[in-house]
Amino acid sequence: MPAKPETPASAAETMKSGAQIVVDTLIDLGVDTMFGYVGGVVLPLFDKLYDAPIRFIIPRHEQGGCHMADAYARASGKTGVILATSGPGACNLVTGLATAMMDSIPMVALTGQVRTDLIGNDAFQEADTTGITRPVTKYNSIVKDVRQLERTVREAFHIASTGRPGPVLVDLPVDVLVNKCPCNGKAELDLPGYRLRTKGHARQISMAAEAINKAEKPVLYVGGGVIIANAAEELRALAEKAHVPVTMTLLGLGSYDQRKPESLDMLGMHGSAYANYAVQESDLLIAVGARFDDRVTGKIPTFAPHAKIVHIDIDPASISKNVHVDIPVVGDAKHILTELTKEVEYRPREAWFQKIAEWKKKYPFRYDGKSANIKPQYIIEEVCRQTNNEAIIATGVGQHQMWSAQFYKFLRPRQFISSGGLGTMGFGLPAAIGAQIAKPDATVIDFDGDHSFNMTMTELATAVQHELPIKVCIFNNGYMGMVRQWQELFYGHRYSCSYLKNPNYAEVARALGAVGITVDKNADVPQAVAQMLAEKRPCVADFHVEPEENVWPMVPAGKSLSEMDGLTILESMA
């Protein structure tokens, strides 16, 4: 449909340009922070943003901006907003959108597009943005008529932030941004196919409660959905009232205070032995906002073989996707946990907690504390100690990410910000920036791999420009450690293409205007951590760590959860 602005229906409706409509709608929706990068076709929008009461953060690369918006959402619970130009700008968002999509993060991406009459002509900086991003967004659309613009932007925020959240992209041809139409700021959503289920089915909830009351060896297996639902308090109430141990996925970390005795910490491939054993022995597994990822289940047919499975999830498609579920409860975790708690009864389960205590005693996360080289786990423990478990931790992807999950003990939701589903190297630094912008008073630390950091380290300049006191701990092992570990274990120590020569990261940091510290002695770790934490400027601490340290325990891909490697190695370090 050609964009043919109509004359105002009433005097109350003012004529506005598309760009003005976008900015006014964003403000009306409560957006006060945005991330993005300029370009030709989005100039009308940037011109309106120039005087708008919106804090605008310009990354050095759109991927970085997208991760910032994502982490801003993870840290705050609000919807992150990213704006990019057409063609290359939009293409640079793909990794960031896919990262957010996999982890169900609410985000709205606005992209510029060439004029509607040029679309399909291979015009300058044209890309089929909706085509390219369709599989990596919850929904996307292109606005071809300025009269649809306000509604579409409102719908994007609604879809991104409700149900199972996810990124939504709106593609904006430049003529739509320039054209004018009457706009009263009250456009209504028109989404006949988008229905939300929040309340769980009462009978299903009663069945789940009954199963919990009967269970002798139950385990709560909780994931990112508990954090998305802001249901940590409800989870605590259930676990305490019913007296059930809790294990968390990587993305669920923070949903249960890990200092509490019921916490079994993380489960899965690099989870704790006690969590994995508990799951394998359980007679009831209560999954809440978790999606039975293959990093968690190991070999599916042998996963939790004795357990009946309750699955609480807002997305019906999550249920019985990978593992057969006996009692599904579809709806919002916050509501369902509240209802469920009313119906459960306290059980002592002495034998079960006794057994768990034995596993915990026998197989805690350990490392060799006597080594001359700096152990990465030691740095994490030290940071955890000096920050009183209160910091927000972002990570890259690799071994350091797993150690972060194992050795930092989280207290509350939105403290751990990590790319779980896509596993995007380079996420850590921009994520720390996004989190620091969302939480200006928090201590935000990026635990990063040397090579993960290398992928997006240009964003240090963004942190410097905005005077963000983020801290980066580089676990510099020279290797793509996670890859090297697999090559050591499964490819006969043949370290093909997993070693790179690193720059001097402290010098790089200084050149970009940040503080740089190099640490290569064990004894210097506490002092370096203290210095880093005291810095008001962005600070990079480059820790030269044990080069060939492995992450244990490890469930090799395709093995069952109880078939963990490395347990004897861990025991020998006792």
């Binding site: 369709r134 599989p135 996307n140 659309s141 879809i159 196919g193 498609a317 019985s320």
Partner: protein
């Protein structure tokens, strides 16, 4: 197992791409997919025949329902439905054999819709099995070309449609 899935979708650009993309991305097999208008100008109906076991088809149904512009999804498996294909077949048939073929066409309640000196084009509609049977009996004459719509389906009245 073949399932007929019927989806009411918003009549918007990009919907077909969303649906087809989801099938491709998740590795589901489509046997046929038909899109057409409905009594409501804002909605189209997609009739999709998928092959898979119950677990897979259940996922197909749920994944379809998740797509924002998809309004309603029904699996017609085990429900009384009328399912039809429309087919055009061009058959090589010399004039002397036409009476014989006409009898066959009548038996299948087909219509001749085009005639040339060496060929007949026949229109047949009905359930898929009928199409297959018709093609089988035409094969000896020589089939020059086939165009099929794929299956469309509607539940029979009083069949307890949700």
């Amino acid at each position: 197992m073949k399932h007929i899935i019927s989806a009411l979708v918003e009549n918007k650009p990009g919907v077909l791409a969303h649906v087809a993309g989801m099938f491709a991305a998740r590795g589901f097999n489509i046997d046929s997919l038909v899109v057409g208008r409905t009594e409501d100008p804002k909605l189209s109906r997609m009739t999709i025949v998928v092959i898979g076991d119950d677990r897979i088809v259940e996922q197909v149904r749920k994944q379809l329902a998740r797509i924002v512009p998809v309004v309603k999804v029904q699996d017609f498996m085990d429900k009384p439905v009328v399912a039809r294909d429309l087919m055009l077949v061009t058959i090589a048939v010399p004039p002397e054999k036409r009476p014989e073929l006409s009898t066959l066409i009548d038996m299948f309640r087909g219509h001749v819709v085009d005639i040339s000196p060496k060929t007949l084009m026949v229109e047949v509609s009905g359930p898929e099995t009928k199409m297959e049977a018709f093609l089988d009996v035409c094969k000896p004459y020589g089939i020059k070309g086939v165009a099929r719509t794929g299956t469309i389906a509607m539940p029979r009245q009083g069949s307890g449609e949700e």
